[in-house]
Symmetry: C2
Subunit: 316 residues, 2 copies
């Protein structure tokens, strides 16, 4: 188009042209051919099956463009999708990125947003290979769709395989992510793949909406309940949850149970999973799956109390 | 979750639950397994390669929720993606749907939106198999990502294969889609597949941003120019372009060249493509590819005039 005398020199065409230049390193990666500049992008990963997922982030809800640099926002938009890959123990392959940019955004900000997503994806060999650029007068929206494959001989880990007697583990401490970790977390892909290779997990999920709410999703899908041990629960409280609780009236434990966007994994393993492997992967024990419905706390005093299934929920 | 005494009965969880019920017919279709209720959806289409694309629609820009029913809006969100499949002569397989719902939307409106997309996708054997639900205080956004395959022995048709001497055709008349057709158009998938089987097309694109702008994309990708014949151009002007021109100061020809969202296909065929096949597929001739850059009108008087490459462009 640059050689075309009738062509406009700015606007969406220019943005797409600059994105294409920016994203061209993606073409170097084996399984995917760049599709920028066609109506669809080629997605050729073997062996099948492929899996795919989408996550949409909105300014003022999932990030704050008055506080966060656009590059960091792009990174988060990619990272939440990579975390979905981790949740199912899959290997990310490629991504599409659709944006609705607020009209007041500069070209550089728009490029930073997509570049931030792309360069973070590349650290997982997951380039952006296509997308859709739009603008409007409302706050910016970014939606990334990611495709992933299984490891050779591997299988995707769902939510519905948990059984009474299974043990519940976390890949890290939770709570208070709002203090900053929700923008900078590392998707647990490497850990998830190792868990899937060595520990035959029965169910996994990433904590996007809160430990209680996301664990409840496993309970619903698997048709059982869970008992968390008080001491174990207190041991997975992140220091940020303590810090945040000094700023509001909520306890550190409530932050650990109900704060969204920790992006650690809840991992359900058979009771006889080798303890040394769990330790080597730095998994933190949390409790046990039970046959009766519900989510419960087993107190140190020997009581069983219900845990509120509350967390981040859209469209209340 | 319904059996869980601690569970909330409304909000996002309830929306997702109702969506799952609504979308379950998708599981009946062969190539795709339903993934609602997991972190990713299975996408298992053979043979490879797969292609994928994404389109994002925003309230007040691509549709007007004060005028259009939510079901029709969902239909359009799916149809623009299906049109991308048509543009490359691919067969749609499955879709993901991400939404940012304005908080004031009712549950029924939200369901209508997704259901409208899903039921229209099903008419092309392309169910929604997963997605992401969000809400916020700004206007509603819907983003659909679609995956498609080639026909056995077929190949996807790109934008970069046009050569000087090739003939340019349209699958239908264009202009004035704003009067209503932008919400009700039929993606040209069946025609595109027949063209790909019988006519060995060199390049194709669907008209989303305007005949001039989208044809220019083929010119850029293929590195050549095009001359449209005045009589042929006037013959592809849709009656809606005439009607709209009585309401504004633009000519019917300008509407035909610059109006977006016609979703007819621009088809570039070798000069010796069989005329009877073109006629049987009701293709409309438009002009010829040339070696020199630019987009030109060959007037009936024997002049050659430049055509402005103008159309719908975001982020101006």
């Amino acid at each position: 188009m640059t050689s075309n005398p009738n062509s406009p020199a700015r606007g969406e065409l220019e943005l797409v042209r600059r994105l294409r230049d920016l994203l061209s390193p993606g073409s170097a990666h084996g399984t995917t051919l760049i599709g920028f500049g066609d109506d669809m992008s080629l997605l050729d990963a073997t062996p099948p099956p492929l899996l795919w997922t989408v996550d949409m982030l909105m300014d003022g809800v999932d990030f704050d463009s008055t506080r966060h640099p656009w590059r960091a926002i792009g990174r988060k938009a990619m990272a939440v999708n990579l975390s979905d890959c981790a949740a199912m123990a899959t290997v990310p392959v490629a991504a599409l990125c659709a944006v609705a940019l607020r009209n007041s955004l500069s070209m550089d900000d728009a490029l930073d947003l997509v570049h931030g997503a792309h360069e973070y994806g590349l650290t997982f060999q997951c380039p952006i290979v296509g997308g859709d650029t739009n603008s409007w007068d409302a706050p910016t929206v970014v939606s990334i769709c990611i495709a992933a494959r299984c490891e050779p001989g591997g299988r995707p880990v769902g939510r519905d395989g948990a059984r009474p007697g299974d043990r519940i583990w976390l890949t890290g401490r939770v709570g208070g992510s709002l203090l900053g970790r929700h923008m900078t977390f590392e998707p647990r892909i490497a850990t998830a793949l190792q868990i899937n290779r060595r520990l035959a997990p029965h169910a996994m999920i990433d904590i996007s909406d809160g430990l209680a709410l996301d664990l409840a999703r496993i309970l619903e899908a698997s048709g059982c309940g869970a008992v968390l041990e008080e001491k174990a629960l207190d041991a997975v409280i992140h220091p940020d949850a303590d810090r945040l609780s000094t700023q509001d009236r909520r306890t550190p434990r409530d932050h650990a149970l109900q704060d969204g966007e920790d992006f650690e994994l809840i991992v359900v393993l058979p009771a006889d999973a080798p303890a040394d492997e769990c330790e080597r992967l730095q998994l933190l024990p949390l409790g046990t799956m039970v046959g009766e419905d519900g989510l419960w706390l087993a107190t140190s005093g020997g009581q069983r109390e219900p845990i509120a299934i509350r967390g981040w929920e859209h469209f209340r």
